[in-house]
C-alpha cells in the first residue's frame, strides 16, 4: 500500500488537535460530542508551581492540585487517527500547553460571546507559537448571536484566521469546526511551501 501509515509497519499516523478557550466555554462538551470513545479525563498532579506565568501564592507546596486533561479520539481509517485534547483552562497550566501544542496540527479556540475575554490568552498563545487555529463561537442558549465579523474585529484576528459559529453539543457542528481547522492548516502549509520560491531571500 502506498499511504504513509504503511511504511512504519502498520503504526497509525496520529494527528493532534487542541481544543482551547476560557473556563466553562464548552471544551469538554466539544471533545465529548466528537470522540468515538468515552470522553476521557486524566488528572495530572500539578507538581511544579506553574512556571513563569503565574504565582501560586500559598499553594506552592500543595502537590495534590490536579489539572484535568480531556481527551478524545476519531479514527479516520485504519492507521489514521485524530486525537483531541482539551487544554486546561487556566493560564497557570501553560507548561502543559507547550508540550501539548508541540507538533499539533492546530487548535480550535472556543469563544463565548458573553465572556469573549476568556479566549484572549488562547488566541495570544497560538499566534505567538505559530499554531494554526480557528475561533469557534459556541452558540450558547440565550446568548446574543453575534456575526463572525464582529467577533473577528473584537478579537483583532488576522484576516486569514477563520471564525465559525458552532454548537459544541452537536456532533455535526463540531465536525464542521474541525473541517474548517484542517482546511485552514492545509492552506497555511500550502502557502508556506510556496513562499520560498516566490519571495527570494533578501
Amino acid at each position: 500500500m502506498a499511504y504513509a501509515g504503511s511504511d512504519r509497519a502498520g503504526v497509525p499516523v496520529t494527528i493532534k488537535i487542541l481544543v482551547a478557550g476560557g473556563f466553562g466555554v464548552g471544551k469538554t462538551t466539544l471533545v465529548g460530542s466528537l470522540t468515538e470513545i468515552r470522553p476521557l479525563r486524566t488528572e495530572e498532579p500539578l507538581t511544579e508551581p506553574g512556571t513563569h506565568v503565574d504565582v501560586l501564592d500559598g499553594v506552592e507546596r500543595k502537590s495534590t492540585t490536579t489539572v484535568a486533561l480531556d481527551f478524545g479520539r476519531i479514527t479516520i481509517r485504519d492507521n489514521l487517527v485524530i486525537y483531541l485534547f482539551g487544554t486546561p483552562g487556566q493560564e497557570r497550566f501553560w507548561f502543559m500547553w507547550d508540550e501539548l501544542s508541540r507538533g499539533a496540527l492546530g487548535a480550535v479556540v472556543l469563544a463565548d460571546t458573553r465572556r469573549l475575554a476568556g479566549c484572549f490568552p488562547s488566541v495570544d498563545y497560538f499566534e505567538k507559537h505559530n499554531v494554526p487555529f480557528v475561533v469557534a463561537v459556541n452558540c450558547f442558549d440565550g446568548a446574543r448571536r453575534y456575526e463572525p465579523k464582529a467577533v473577528r474585529s473584537a478579537l483583532d484576528l488576522e484576516s486569514h484566521v477563520p471564525v465559525v459559529l458552532c454548537d459544541a453539543r452537536q456532533r455535526a457542528s463540531g465536525r464542521e469546526t474541525l473541517i474548517a481547522l484542517v482546511e485552514h492548516a492545509l492552506e497555511r502549509m500550502r502557502r508556506n511551501a510556496e513562499r520560498p520560491s516566490r519571495v527570494p531571500a533578501p
Binding site: 476521557l40 488528572e43 489514521l80 486525537y83 508541540r102 473541517i179 484542517v182 492548516a185 502549509m189
Partner: protein, 124 residues
C-alpha cells in the same frame, strides 16, 4: 481476591499515592518525555526480568502488543500521563518497547493525508 471490607486502604488514602509509590517518587522520566500521541509497541519476544517490574509495567506491555498511544495508555490504565511517561522510560531502558514519534503535520510524507482527514470527517 479479598472481599472489599478486608482492604486496609480506603478511598481517603487518595488516588495519587499508589501511582507515585509505583514510580518511586520520580516525577520526570529518564530522557525526553514522549509526545502524548507517540505510539508505543511492545517488542515481540522480549523477556522482562520479573524482579524489577511492577504490575503496571506488565499492563503496559500487554496493552502495547498493538500500537497504542501514550494518551490511550494513561486513559486505559487510569494513571496520570506523568506516571505513564515514567513507566515507559523504564520499559525503553530495558528495550521492552519501541516508540514511534508522531510526524509533525508539516513534514507528513504525503499532504494527501490531510485531505483524507477532511474527507473522513465529512463522512462522520
Amino acid at each position: 481476591m479479598s472481599p472489599p471490607e478486608d482492604r486496609w486502604l480506603d478511598e481517603d488514602a487518595g488516588p495519587v499515592v499508589r501511582p507515585y509509590a509505583l514510580i518511586r517518587g520520580r516525577t520526570r522520566p529518564a530522557g525526553k518525555s514522549l509526545d502524548v500521541i507517540a505510539m508505543v509497541i511492545t517488542v515481540r519476544g522480549a523477556w522482562p526480568d520479573p524482579v524489577d517490574l511492577e504490575p503496571e509495567h506488565y499492563a503496559v506491555l500487554r496493552l502495547c502488543t498493538l500500537p497504542t498511544s501514550v494518551a490511550d495508555l494513561a486513559a486505559d490504565l487510569d494513571l496520570p500521563l506523568g506516571v505513564v511517561q515514567i513507566l515507559l522510560s523504564d520499559l525503553r531502558e530495558r528495550s521492552l518497547v519501541t516508540v514511534h514519534h508522531p510526524v509533525p503535520p508539516a513534514r507528513l510524507p504525503d499532504p494527501q493525508i490531510l485531505k483524507e482527514v477532511v474527507d473522513g470527517l465529512r463522512r462522520l
